[in-house]
């Protein structure tokens, strides 16, 4: 039993990769993947004499993020150099914003079991990503690939306002949703387009001062984040309970071993010698520019949810779930636009789609089927040419391979048989083969009727319209 009660205090540093086509300071592609160093030039490999030129889109994306998180905008901001030596950083300085970040003092509202809460944002700034280091365990060298070097990032620094992993994940979900809605980032944790560093400390409840915090890196899924928070909280409490001190340090979370390890940067002093980059003139953001960005902000989740409830008459629950993902919402609207009944479309997304996503451990962004195919499937099912069970079967195929439901149904002869003479023959046969059951039914045992329907469907290999079968049975018994 724990003698004292502890509170976890968490602040986050989130790096989000901005969805520009080209890098922040040069005309190289930001495309993910690609053979090592194929997306590089003198600027992003730190060649002598090369100079950076700022990508305007980065500033506009940053402003959009700022507006949607209620931030203040530094209308005169500039870039600073963060000086440190590491091979993934070709200039041995990172161009970032230290003295005057573009956005500051904002907040994001989260909602958990305990209700709504504002998580304050300390600042958001623009910076460049570093390259990638690759190492083989059995070799005594590392290799550097600068394809990611110079990809634009936005670093979002929260205040230490979170108290549980539930709050943290809610905050990250909100942030990701915002970025996706704005189109500024796809925020894929697995691909590293969203990276989370967790600053965590514990303190005895009711205490005012914060404890010593550690920073955890290498968290590449929400599950890992939750586990890391639990693990690090436990580790720190254990230290305190044993009368030891928490050391302020950077730790690397090992999700397999469910433990964090202190990262040893040999000789690292963390004195970054920040100073304004003399190669980059400052950015002056006029009121007009701010207004034009503000005016071009897309509809965000709360408005979209309200519109779905109003215009499509979706229940609040459905509207909330579908709009939680920009991807799902886009798919919904596109399918409805193709003639799908909104409630039916919503049902397919809410039930079958989410079930399959969960089953495959995938995110809505990974959905492969097109709105056209979903609309077709709904039509096919509505017209009764396939029954519900088959429709689900086809949908599963569609989910996996984006098959055309019409073609698929035809090719696999899944169309329900509407020919009454064929059905009649089968019903007749079933009644004959199950005369005892028919007796029971006639004697008032209504339950067995389902069994009979089932038998007919089985004979028909599912390709019959259950309503029609029911009608025929009743007529013929």
């Amino acid at each position: 039993m724990m003698a004292r009660e502890y509170e976890t205090v968490i602040g986050l540093e989130v790096h989000v990769e901005l969805a520009t086509k080209s890098k922040i300071f040069c005309g190289c592609s930001t495309e993910f993947g690609g053979a090592p160093n194929t997306h590089t030039c003198p600027v992003c490999t730190g060649m002598p004499g090369s100079l950076p030129v700022l990508n305007k889109q980065v500033v506009e994306y940053a402003m959009a993020m700022g507006f949607s998180t209620h931030c203040q905008i530094n209308q005169n901001c500039k870039f600073d150099r963060k000086n440190y030596f590491y091979p993934d950083n070709p200039q041995n300085y990172q161009i970032s914003q230290f003295y005057l970040p573009i956005c500051y003092d904002g907040w994001i509202e989260i909602e958990t079991k305990e209700g709504r809460k504002k998580i304050r944002i300390h600042e958001m700034h623009m910076e460049e990503d570093s390259g990638k280091l690759l190492h083989n365990e059995w070799e005594d060298f590392s290799l550097v690939d600068y394809n990611r070097s110079g990809v634009p990032l936005m670093e979002i620094v929260s205040e230490p306002d979170m108290r549980s992993s539930e709050e943290v994940i809610n905050y990250l979900d909100r942030l990701r949703m915002l970025a996706q809605y704005l189109g500024v980032s796809d925020c894929k944790l697995q691909e590293g387009s969203m990276r989370v560093d967790v600053n965590l400390s514990v303190r005895e409840k009711k205490r005012k001062i914060f404890g010593t915090r550690t920073e955890m890196k290498n968290l590449n899924s929400f599950k890992a984040i939750a586990r890391a928070i639990a693990g690090e909280r436990e580790r720190q409490i254990d230290l305190l309970e044993r009368g030891r001190q928490v050391v302020q340090e950077t730790r690397r979370w090992d999700d397999m071993k469910e433990y964090s390890y202190a990262m040893r940067f040999k000789e690292d002093t963390k004195d970054y010698r920040y100073f304004p980059d003399p190669d980059l003139p400052s950015v002056m953001i006029s009121d007009e520019w701010m207004e034009s960005i503000r005016a071009s902000l897309p509809e965000l989740q709360p408005e979209k949810q309200a519109r779905y409830e109003r215009d499509f008459r979706l229940p609040t629950y459905d509207a909330a779930i579908i709009t939680a993902s920009k991807h799902l919402a886009d798919l919904f609207e596109q399918t409805v636009a193709l003639g799908g009944n909104p409630k039916k479309v919503s049902n397919w997304l809410m039930v079958e789609t989410l079930r399959l996503l969960k089953k495959h451990g995938e995110e809505p962004e990974q959905i492969r089927f097109s709105p056209e195919h979903l609309a077709k499937l709904i039509t096919v099912a509505e017209q009764g040419s396939v029954n519900n069970r088959i429709a689900k079967e086809v949908f599963e195929k569609m989910y996996e391979e984006d098959v055309d439901p019409e073609v698929y149904v035809k090719e696999h002869e899944l169309t329900s048989v509407h020919d009454a003479s064929v059905l009649k023959e089968v019903v007749k046969q079933v009644l004959e083969n199950n005369f005892k059951v028919v007796e029971e039914y006639r004697n008032g045992k209504a339950k067995v009727f389902c069994f009979l329907v089932g038998q007919v469907m089985k004979e028909m290999q599912g390709k019959a319209n259950p309503t029609m079968v029911g009608e025929l049975l009743r007529k013929m018994i």
Binding site: T20, K21, S22, C26, G27, C28, S29, A35, P36, N37, T38, H39, T40, C41, P42, T45, M47, V53, L54, N55, K56, Q57, V58, V59, N76, K78, N83, F85, Y86, P87, L133, L134, H135, E139, D140, F141, S142, L143, V144, D145, Y146, R252, M263, R264, F265, E267, T269, D271, R273, P276, P278, L280, P281, S282, V283, M284
Partner: protein
């Protein structure tokens, strides 16, 4: 202002700048730096409390490029000067923590 450049400062700065200062060089480095820093202290004669630091010589702002991909694969050129390379990458001593 620092009045005294110590050996510790030299070690610390040498580490930041990734320069090896051997014991033979250290004394001379320390002395040179001391002389220069003492001289730089003349700046304290100036009252600059009401003066903004001049980061840029001209009031030029908002120099941007449009978000367009202008570079293709130039890997061969980028690696042409690498002292050590392997599989299209720059080779460095192992960096794992």
């Amino acid at each position: 202002m620092v009045n005294k450049i110590t050996d510790e400062i030299i070690d610390y700065v040498g580490n930041l700048a990734k320069l090896k200062i051997s014991d033979d060089e250290k004394e001379q480095t320390r002395k040179d730096m001391q002389t220069i820093m003492d001289y730089i202290d003349i700046l304290n004669e100036l009252d600059t409390r009401k003066v903004e630091p001049m980061f840029y010589i001209f009031p030029v702002h908002n120099v941007f490029r449009e978000d367009v991909i202008t570079n293709g694969d130039d890997k061969a050129h980028m690696l042409a000067n690498a002292p050590k390379q392997k599989d299209g990458q720059y080779q460095v001593p192992k960096t794992v923590e």
